[in-house]
């Protein structure tokens, strides 16, 4: 997957750090993705970097699409890095980390298997925090035009004259 800079503002895409693994807090206000597939980074102003990294993992665990790289999940939750939202997010993520400690891990990110993380989330899915994150992702993730091609969705076609001559009836396997 090549990087799609047009979907991100310059502030959201500042660094091309080569890191290992999924999303990492890399200190001094940055969370970065790993090198080969996703050279990207998101700057945080109000949230702790590790909170943003956890938020990205949480977003992926709620709506996991293995073919969608972390940068899109980062864009989807970037809005919570605001003066208004940050405090509530820190509290919610702290509770998530506490829940992870309750089953013997250092924090949520440290829980290696998705099924164990999902078990934790099932226990809190009616909470206001979980519903805030899930509800925000419905538009925050799926309304990013940059991810539509990953799902095959072509978006608007008016500018191309519609599909009258471009395959509206081209099904060939029936």
């Amino acid at each position: 997957m090549s990087i799609r800079k047009q979907a991100m503002t310059r502030r959201q895409l500042l660094s091309k750090s080569a890191m290992f693994g999924a999303s990492f807090a890399i200190g001094s206000g940055f969370v970065a993705g790993q090198a080969t597939a996703a050279n990207w980074a998101v700057e945080v102003e109000h949230l702790k970097p590790e909170t943003m990294a956890t938020l990205i993992q949480l977003a992926r665990d709620i709506y996991p699409h293995d073919q969608v790289s972390d940068e899109y999940y980062a864009v989807a939750v970037k809005g919570y890095d605001s003066a208004d939202a940050a405090e509530g997010i820190e509290v919610g993520i702290a509770e998530l980390n506490e829940a992870a400690k309750g089953i013997g891990f250092a924090n949520y990110i440290d829980v290696g298997w998705e099924r164990d993380r999902v078990d934790l989330l099932r226990g809190m899915e009616d909470s206001a925090f979980f519903q805030q994150i899930r509800g925000g992702l419905v538009t925050g993730l799926y309304n990013q035009k940059a991810i539509w091609p990953i799902f095959g969705y072509e978006g608007e076609s008016f500018s191309k004259g519609g599909y009258i001559d471009r395959g509206f009836d081209d099904i060939n396997w029936l």
């Binding site: 665990d61 996991p64 699409h65 076609s157 009258i164 009836d169 099904i171």
Partner: protein, 523 residues
């Protein structure tokens, strides 16, 4: 006197709302030389303004003023502030509708007689003989340019339709075709043929789909007899000591309160806003709201038995390419109580873009069960269920005085509980829809819950006896002779068909009646 009209001109017919009911009525009256002021809460958008992006378009066109919900319907949980997905714009929901244009079946005009006494249902026959509607339906079909009527060809079948058709035929269904659609299959009435662009719900940028926004409204204005005032939200209707309505008070585009005098007032704000306006117009003479001596204003709210079936196949379908509603199965629209319910339903193809699929496939769901469905979005086909629901007195629009809108007016609360007949019908339709797709090799199926209501009906219903309903056979309120209802809220029952064609036919018919009464000086 020609448009624009003076606020003190008490010779005008004031129409509130400009959609399928109000927009058509406004033009039909203007063509007959009647002076009309149409007040529209929304702004004016034309094809060049429409946005082929689901959420952006929703932000542009949808009615998102506050409303509340109650009842056991899942919409109240999933979309508690958005009971209906309808439009606030010149042209109303005719910008958003899919275009399906079906006549009622004869027996659907007489549901009480046909279905009998159904416990919990407030069934009533329409005070209209189906034969009275034949000519009006023909006029409506010709106005809208409905395919497969009047010698007009059907639309070509899209990928989504072809999957649906093959499954339907495999099940033995016979009435399967690309629909009777108010979408041009060839250039018609100065509008282009369909370019299979998708985004019918977002307003047709080609103008191939009929909408009053770019047909009836400008044509009415061209007569000089129609003035449309957009971004004007009506607050209440005033009356005199004789109990006749005299004026309409509204907030204009600049936020100033205005009062337009009127000889006749026609309410066409949709089945949520129309009863809300009558209730918000309560006075010392009419303490329960205007035209509400029956107590039926706001009651019998119907929304059709809806739901969707989506299915995933092992190969691509690309259902978003082409018209949103691309075909229909009508075999289940008959009344056959041996299926375990009265009334019938239509199955109509439907597609949503990825953003709306994520929002509507299974609202609130998360995790891999949900996301693996979207992973195969390209291989998905979809259909929508439209069936007759039972009118119930307790399904109703009431004023929620705890919540006010931007004008300080009490908002509408929309209460809906499914009737057992509705549930039985929906379950039957899910089963049949799933069978259609499994017959074509679906690897996974999704019986998807109802979306926020698009077919809002029945809340000022038509009745022979003034004790049973709000308006008579002409949409004239039983209580106030110069007050009319001109939208889907006058529906006595919902039938199994998409309602727009019937709303248009009734508006043409009502225009004949109002013009005749005006010329006789009886209004």
């Amino acid at each position: 006197m020609s448009a624009p009209f003076d606020m003190n001109d008490d010779n005008v017919v004031v129409i509130i709302g400009t959609g399928a009911g109000g927009g058509v009525l406004a033009n039909e009256l203007a063509q007959k030389g009647v002076s009309v002021v149409a007040l529209e809460a929304g702004g004016r958008y034309l094809p060049e303004d429409y946005i082929n992006d689901e959420w952006d378009s929703f932000g542009q066109l949808a009615w998102t003023d506050p409303r509340t919900t109650s009842g056991d319907w899942r919409v109240a949980k999933d979309f508690s502030g958005l009971p209906a997905w309808i439009v606030k714009a010149v042209g109303g929901t005719t910008t958003h509708w899919a275009g399906a244009s079906l006549r009622f079946q004869d027996h659907e005009w007489k549901p009480r007689t046909t279905y009998g006494d159904i416990e919990g249902a407030n069934l009533l026959d329409w005070p209209i003989d189906p034969r009275e509607m034949d000519d009006y339906y023909t006029k409506a079909e010709n106005k809208l340019g409905v395919t497969r009527t009047g010698g007009r060809a059907g639309l070509p079948g899209s990928n989504n339709y072809k999957v649906f058709e093959k499954g339907a035929k495999a099940l033995g269904y016979e009435e399967v075709h690309t629909g009777r659609m108010a979408i041009n299959s060839a250039d018609f009435d100065d509008r282009l043929a369909c370019q299979q662009t998708g985004f019918c719900f977002q307003g047709c940028k080609w103008g191939a789909k009929w909408s009053s926004a770019y047909t009836d409204i400008p044509r009415g204005e061209a007569t000089g007899n129609l003035e449309v005032r957009d971004r004007c939200h009506v607050m209440r209707i005033e009356h005199n000591e004789q109990g006749k309505v005299t004026s309409v008070v509204y907030v204009d585009a600049d936020g100033n309160q205005q009062e337009q005098r009127a000889r006749v007032v026609c309410v066409a704000g949709n089945s949520i806003e129309s009863p809300r306006l009558l209730l918000n117009s309560a006075s010392s003479m009419f303490p329960d709201g205007l035209a509400n001596s029956s107590g039926q204003v706001g009651r019998n709210y119907m929304r059709h038995v809806t739901g969707s079936v989506y299915a995933v196949f092992d190969q691509p379908v690309r259902m978003w390419r082409g018209t949103t509603m691309a075909g229909i199965i009508q075999d289940e629209a008959k009344n056959d109580p041996s299926r375990g319910f009265v009334g019938g339903y239509e199955l109509e193809t439907l597609s949503l873009g990825l953003p709306f699929m994520a929002a509507f496939l299974d609202p609130g769901a998360w995790g891999r069960e949900f996301t693996t469905a979207l992973d195969h979005y390209e291989n998905m086909a979809g259909m929508w269920i439209v069936g007759e629901d039972m009118p119930q007195e307790t399904n109703r629009i009431t004023l929620n005085h705890d919540v006010t809108d931007q004008h300080g007016l009490a908002v509408a609360d929309v209460h809906f509980d499914d009737h057992p007949n509705d549930v039985a019908m929906r379950n039957h339709a899910y089963k049949q829809g799933i069978a259609v797709y499994e017959a074509v090799g679906a690897t996974r199926v999704f019986p998807t819950p109802p979306y926020p209501s698009t077919h809002n009906l029945g809340t000022n219903r038509m009745s022979e006896d003034p004790r049973d309903g709000v308006v008579n056979r002409h949409g004239q309120t039983h209580d106030i002779s110069n007050l009319f209802v001109s939208d889907g809220s006058q529906f006595t029952s919902g039938a199994s068909e998409n309602p727009t064609l019937t709303i248009v036919a009734l508006a043409i018919r009502q225009a004949d009646f109002i013009a005749a009464e005006l010329s006789k000086n009886t209004l």
